[in-house]
């Protein structure tokens, strides 16, 4: 069984790390990741850009595009897609297509800042 591990941290704190501090954290993380890769247990790894880069598509009819991250506490993160898009408009089109077949709730669109595809097969 695969497990998604979602990372939460205070963005203000992470954002105020210096380049060196950030690199040091990433370096330590990569050591942990390398071990999992060797064991064939690591799936895709993505670091998202800050929440300020997020756009939300409310799956209403017609879908409503909002700024900022999706932060409705009554709804929970149920899964995620990683899709290759040229720009935000293209990503929104994909989200609209998805929302047409799966209405209700919202999609948060967050650009990926760093991506490691991994090697594990489910």
């Amino acid at each position: 069984m695969l497990y998604a591990i979602l990372c939460y941290h205070d963005e203000d704190t992470v954002g105020s790390w210096t380049k060196e501090q950030d690199a040091a954290v990433m370096q330590k993380l990569s050591v942990v990741q390398d071990k999992l890769t060797q064991q064939g247990r690591l799936g895709p790894v993505a670091r998202l850009l800050p929440t300020t880069a997020a756009t939300t598509l409310r799956k209403e009819d017609p879908p409503l595009v909002l700024d900022g991250p999706f932060a409705e506490t009554k709804e929970q993160l149920l899964g995620f897609y990683v899709v290759d898009c040229k720009n935000l408009d293209e990503a929104l089109d994909v989200a609209r297509d998805l929302s047409r077949v799966n209405p209700g709730g919202a999609y948060e669109i967050r650009p990926v800042g760093h991506f490691t595809p991994g090697s594990v097969k489910p």
Partner: protein, 423 residues
């Protein structure tokens, strides 16, 4: 030690909120700053032992406030404790501190703090210095180094700025919607200036000034967190991110300027560019264009080009045209002329900038750009005159060195064909 790195990070990120709240309480910049510093000293003693508090900013505000009040009480004999009504606009401050700070206060405190630093009575240099001292917490020494002035001169500049702010009637009430958007504009301009101060550094001072760029980016991100749907703040942040992404490619080992065309694009910071592009993309969707968005869009077109030849100069020309309408300035026209020279050739560009000659008669870049167009047209003597003038007006040694390189090239080009350069 990396053990304390998390404390540094927590203190830095909590600073604007904590100083802002202390300022709201004490209504005096010096008292607020001192209270914050005292709270930081206590944090350095307490946090390594007890672990970080759940909300570092709230902790700092509460401790800072208590220490400052104790100080005031201790000197009570000399000075009466300020009237409760004068030091607080809150009905029950204790209750307020006990609960988690609410989002709107957080936003207004930081905005007020930034706004006070860019008080309209202060000249731009003092605004920037004050913001770096109060909001960013840079030491006077660091700021002085960044502005290439002595510590004493910078100390004086900041002291003067504080005195002026204290004299002026500073509004402490929560700003209304109109006022808030006015404040936002001046705060954005101040962040832009801080960035430019760092960006215009020449090679030998780049290491000293580049932290200014990073600080400006940090403040822009903060502002964007507070105003998540303002396309101009997205544009500003995108602009700074994309410009700063090129930092490593902008100067050679000797500190000389490397022009965009000649930069090693593999040195550009891809993650900063990715974030900048995502933000400008998002901003453009609002269909509420503004000068920062247009500048960011221009920067984005350069960033998207994998080689200089891939640059979409036609689009850049159009964007500069839009910028000329929004923010008419001879400098914008001069920049547009560079795009025009790529699309329509140097003669069209030269025709475009000739009318600016009088207004830009003391502007380094005018003569540098004019010389380059003349050189492309083979009018070498005129080009040489323009370059000579540019060198006389250069602000940094890197700028002068860059023009000298052009002159050397002219010299080289004219020699094989005999002594043609009789001036």
């Amino acid at each position: 030690m990396t053990d304390t790195a998390w404390i540094d990070a927590a203190l830095t990120s909590a600073r604007p909120q904590a100083v802002g709240a202390l300022l709201r309480y004490f209504r005096n910049l010096d008292t607020a700053e001192e209270a914050y510093q005292n709270a930081c000293l206590r944090a350095l003693k307490s946090w390594p032992q007890n672990g970080p508090p759940r909300d570092p900013a709230a902790w700092l505000i509460m401790v800072g406030r208590n220490v400052a009040i104790d100080d005031i009480r201790r000197s009570k004999k000399q000075e009466a404790l300020p009237d409760d009504a004068a030091i607080s606009d809150l009905d029950d401050a204790e209750e307020q501190l006990a609960e988690r700070l609410d989002g709107s206060h957080y936003r207004d405190d930081i905005l007020r703090l930034l706004f006070i630093c860019c008080h309209p009575d202060l000249p731009a240099t003092q605004q920037i210095a004050l913001a770096l001292r109060i909001v960013s917490g840079l030491t006077v020494k660091q700021i002085a180094r960044a502005f290439l002035v002595s510590d004493a001169a910078m100390e004086q500049r900041i002291t003067r700025a504080k005195a002026r702010v204290a004299d002026a009637e500073v509004p402490f009430e929560t700003p209304g919607a109109v006022e808030r958007s006015e404040r936002l504009t001046s705060v954005a301009a101040m962040i832009y200036l801080i960035f430019n101060e760092g960006y215009s550094a020449s090679g030998d001072t780049a290491e000293i000034r580049s932290p200014l760029c990073e600080e400006a980016i940090r403040l822009a991100r903060l502002l964007l967190r507070l105003f998540q749907s303002e396309p101009e703040i997205m544009g500003l942040t995108a602009l700074l991110l994309i410009q700063h992404a090129r930092a490593a490619a902008r100067f050679d080992a000797g500190g000389a300027v490397i022009l965009l065309d000649d930069q090693d694009r593999s040195l550009w910071n891809k993650s900063l560019i990715a974030e900048g592009l995502a933000l400008i993309d998002k901003a453009m969707r609002h269909r509420r264009s503004g000068p920062y968005q247009v500048q960011a869009a221009i920067a984005a077109l350069h960033a998207r080009a994998e080689t200089p030849a891939d640059t979409d100069w036609t689009q850049i020309d159009l964007l500069y045209g839009a910028l000329e309408i929004m923010q008419p300035s001879p400098v914008v026209t001069l920049n547009r002329a560079v795009a025009v020279s790529k699309v329509k050739g140097p003669q069209a560009a030269l025709d475009m900038i000739e009318p600016l000659a009088q207004r830009l008669s003391n502007y380094f870049h005018f003569f540098g750009v004019r010389g380059a167009f003349l050189m492309q047209l083979g009018r070498n003597d005129e080009a040489r005159t323009a370059f000579d003038r540019a060198i006389a007006l250069a602000n940094t040694s890197a700028e002068a060195a860059h023009i000298r390189m052009h002159l050397d090239r002219l010299q080289r080009d004219s020699q094989p064909r005999g002594k043609k350069s009789g001036k």
